[in-house]
Symmetry: C2
Amino acid sequence: MLGANNGGTHLSGPVLIVGTGLLGASIGLGLKARGVDVVLTDISPSTQAVAEDIGAGRALNPVEAIDPELVVIAAPPDVAADLSAKALTEYPGAVVVDIASVKASVLDHLITVVDDAALSRYVGTHPMAGREKSGPVAASAELFTSMPWVVCATDHSTAVAIRTAEALAIDLGAVVARMSAEEHDQSVALISHLPQVLSSLVASRLQDSPPHALALAGNGLRDVTRIAASDPRLWVQILSANADRLVQILYGVREDLNRLIGTLENPTGAGSRLDMAQLISEGNVGQARIPGKHGTPPEAFARMTVLVDDVPGQIARLLTEIGDAGINLEDLRLEHSPGRQVGMAEISVVPGKRHDLLEFLTANGWKVVQ
Amino acid sequence: MLGANNGGTHLSGPVLIVGTGLLGASIGLGLKARGVDVVLTDISPSTQAVAEDIGAGRALNPVEAIDPELVVIAAPPDVAADLSAKALTEYPGAVVVDIASVKASVLDHLITVVDDAALSRYVGTHPMAGREKSGPVAASAELFTSMPWVVCATDHSTAVAIRTAEALAIDLGAVVARMSAEEHDQSVALISHLPQVLSSLVASRLQDSPPHALALAGNGLRDVTRIAASDPRLWVQILSANADRLVQILYGVREDLNRLIGTLENPTGAGSRLDMAQLISEGNVGQARIPGKHGTPPEAFARMTVLVDDVPGQIARLLTEIGDAGINLEDLRLEHSPGRQVGMAEISVVPGKRHDLLEFLTANGWKVVQ
């Protein structure tokens, strides 16, 4: 379950990180900040050098034997299992975790190459963090702060292995979410892989669109296509590894799309309007189930949009004034318009404060759009 | 083209607004603010009363003959043509515009019920503004500020009619985009209706999803499903009216989805990985074509994410400090995490300032995530 703590265990180290890209280097930075001895190794000498330079850890010295408490395999799905197996063999006293975005395929492969004793020291995990940027240059000790970190213990896992895996997440400020590898893969197929592919499907339709159409693009299109800017190389691995779970979901999407197409081919036919209304309504229901800020019920806040001149300091001034009025800002989104020099700040406050905020802003000369 | 001005014509009024929901009432408020005499009428007495109360205009008096310069049909697609025809007949001296989100279907129907002389006084338009809220209570004089307002003149339209339609948009602070009704409908099918239905398709998959899956939801899913919260009653009208253009686009989406499903059914087959990579890459290309802030080339800014404690005033303080450092904030997005008390502010600045900003923030004790 989300937020379970493990009785206060922290990592003592040393921790060996295999793979010093964005995630591996960020883990290094986070653990170093806690005073843990971090040792780094990466197949690319330059990637490793950068990670060392930014302070993510010290280089693994081939002639020095280390006895890590934990080995973190921070490598992509394709190689995570083999690298985990290698680490389990080389460091018979260590707990080994991987952080790949798919879990069952890693576990399924690992089971075939290590024995039960080794397997008992392995725990698959997945930190739900990271951006479209990659590489150690973009790394940060805070990448995992308050983000979910899924920990997938198996029946083979020892209590020590589970506690150590959870300590990694907790020491990096993340929130532990316990579930099986299968539950994890089903979950991410739905809440991560599905939106990714549909976003790409929408965005790919824009490749040859005329400029006058794109000029009308609003925030709806921008929101739907934002994650279409993702990295193909990483996503090919994720989609391949989670193909069968994702495709089950896509069968359902295809049915719905076929039904929608049939309705649009005959929009005045009996039942067509009802079909269309049902699609949008079902979307309403599904969207409303997504947790809000800090896990609160969704849509718990009242929103308001304020015009902001596009000059330096305007937004800061708006927020400062709101704070001075004693109203807490729950959320803030900036929206752009294609004209010049004006932006829109969409502010969220607790519903009870909406009226006060509206009065206050209007009295202070701010233009409230909605 | 976007931003064309019409030689400086402004509305003198009176302007009659038929339909005083969100858009009609906002138009009333905006024109009243410019000193234009606005007369209101709505089929619902209570909706009209609210619009009058908020100052959007005065009630249409059945015993007083008015001679409006312009009649704005602010009614949904289903009734826009008939109401436009009625106004063209009742006010033989007026220009009549509608503001429905589809244009060809309105024009096609109107042509069958009025003669060429009347038709010459009609111009279909579409302000690209408005939120998921509806009704006059949410209206604002600023709803259209800097937003695109599409104006679809036809060969029948007189110069006066076109100038008057454009004056409406310009007087409300919008940016005129000139195109034909057909070009408009093709455009919105792509940049508005397509993302709407795909967002609903994704969101509807979440209806029965288990809570542990939803707990892992990140900003990708939130972004893709944000517009799934739209109003079914309005969207049924839009989709019905623009069905044939949207369905053409959906045939292409279906082809892509079928190909993706085939690939996922055989992820290790020859060419499968290439197919997946191609989908994501094509999405990259399409997404990159969406204009950025103020119509600038997309992705012209450098981004950085900063941790912000969830206490009042923190974001204001961050922005004030950035302003004090002389760095202009080009964009700002807040992101939430499921843990407690921490949010993330994603800041955009011109690329040349990214390094300065990073140094400045770090020196001032802010935690930069990426």
